[in-house]
């Protein structure tokens, strides 16, 4: 079974040279830690920076330089700043090659719910609805089940949707799954996890091929 860092590490393997990547808050943010040095990848943060770098050294933090999670960051050589309209022009115009974000629920149709729980304080969707409605390549990073042990991979989302039929791939603590033709397709299992464990933890329609490899993460 993977921890959050393991999920991030596995997702990092999806990233290709030359890609612009938008990472959501939480597990997705960790993906940046696992990009091989020397790979040409730039991180976009929707509050207005391309070429986001790591956190600043203590004492170098700048209130005017933050990411979408409001964390102080740095800018890499070749970075650019821009306004929010231009930032979402990049996102909506499909100039960002990969979007990674967390979710509360994902359906076998690729629907995603990650912004609102009825009866609880609603904080807002931020940029998530723009990201999921626009991106061509969306990977969801999340735990396979919620704290009550219930599957988060469902036939239909029970929570209010963030986007419809948009998620391509899900990487959880148990498995990598692709979404197509109205079903989850098991691609890999996490180290030490059996196909049966994934089947038991997946409420939505799951297609299991004859042979399922184990994730290769170091």
């Amino acid at each position: 079974m993977l921890d959050k860092n393991g999920i991030a590490q596995r997702i990092a393997q999806e990233v290709r040279n030359g890609w612009y990547v938008n990472l959501g808050i939480g597990i997705p943010t960790l993906v940046a830690n696992y990009i091989p040095s020397g790979m040409e990848v730039e991180f976009q943060s929707e509050n207005g920076i391309l070429g986001m770098g790591p956190f600043p050294m203590e004492g170098d933090e700048d209130a005017d330089l933050i990411n979408a999670g409001k964390q102080t960051i740095t800018a890499m050589p070749g970075a650019a700043y821009f306004d929010s309209a231009t930032s979402f022009a990049m996102i909506r115009g499909q100039h960002v090659q990969l979007t990674v974000l967390g979710a509360m629920e994902v359906s076998q149709n690729g629907d995603i719910a990650n912004w609102k729980i009825p009866g609880k304080m609603v904080k807002g969707m931020g940029g998530a609805m723009d990201l999921v409605a626009s991106a061509e390549n969306i990977i969801v990073a999340m735990m396979h089940t919620n704290r009550a042990g219930e599957s988060k991979l469902l036939s239909n989302c029970s929570l209010p949707l963030t986007g419809v039929a948009c998620v391509r791939r899900v990487v959880t603590n148990l498995a990598v799954l692709d979404i197509r033709d109205g079903a989850f397709h098991l691609v890999e299992v996490a180290p030490g996890i059996s196909v049966e464990q994934v089947v038991a933890a997946t409420a939505g329609k799951l297609v299991v091929p004859e042979s399922v490899p184990e994730m290769q993460i170091s």
Binding site: P56, D62, K70, T72, V122, G124, D130, A133, L161
Partner: protein, 233 residues
């Protein structure tokens, strides 16, 4: 001869702001917010305002200061976490909240300033955001119709500015400020540094002065950091 927008101070800049008005306020989280104008709005004690701002500040800073005084009737935002007083007022029904996808919020402000009354976007299709909105397919993909946003006053904060109202923002403190400057009937710009006319490179201006009606040099900027994340040396 250049048109001067310079006013003496924040009091002059906020003259004419009244209860019941719709106000836009630049910033993302606490980054790039018009601190001096917010303080003046608290001092003025205006009531029942509608605030269009990506976020709602924190309990004791940013728009949280207006919320403390219960001056806001309605918030139009994309994300309103990190604010207990906001949550209390929202759950009690004192505060009306309209949540908008962040990209649509930015584009709707730009549209308001650019004379585009409405546009189609895929964001929010199939969600409750689309409720009551026209849906239309383009290139086989459903989009929803979103309308322009404007405001009686827009308050923006820039790094540098000149008397003509030209503005340059710093790093990610730019965020919503340029679009809101476009969309305000009266746009008030506060700047960290008001420089002499001709000192800003016309090629590096982010917001041309035509979008700014009043400008003043702010003071006492706290520029609070919401999430201080650092690497130890």
């Amino acid at each position: 001869m250049a048109i001067s927008k310079q006013v003496k101070d924040v009091t002059a800049a906020c003259s004419g702001v009244e209860s019941g008005m719709t106000l836009m306020l630049g910033g993302f989280g606490l980054c790039g917010i018009p601190e001096c104008s917010i303080a003046e709005l608290v001092r003025l004690g205006i009531q029942d305002v509608t605030c269009i701002s990506n976020n709602a500040g924190v309990d004791d800073f940013g728009l949280g200061l207006l919320l403390q005084q219960r001056q806001i009737r309605k918030m139009i935002s994309s994300y309103v976490g990190e604010n207990d007083e906001f949550e209390r007022q929202m759950l009690s029904g004192e505060l009306e909240v309209d949540l908008i996808p962040q990209g649509s919020l930015a584009e709707r402000c730009r549209a308001g300033g650019a004379g585009i009354p409405a546009f189609y976007t895929p964001a929010g299709y199939g969600t409750e955001v689309a409720a009551g909105k026209e849906v239309r397919d383009f290139n086989g993909k459903p989009h929803i119709l979103e309308s322009a946003l404007t405001a009686d006053f827009a308050f923006v904060k820039a790094w540098k500015g000149d008397a003509s109202g030209n503005l340059i923002f710093k790093a990610t403190a730019r965020n919503f400020n340029p679009m809101m400057a476009m969309a305000g009937k009266i746009t008030v710009a506060e700047v960290e540094e008001l420089v002499p006319e001709g000192e800003l490179d016309p090629n590096s201006v982010h917001t041309p002065g035509i979008f700014v009606q009043r400008i003043f040099q702010g003071s006492g900027y706290e520029k609070r950091i919401e999430q201080r994340t650092v690497q130890s040396r």
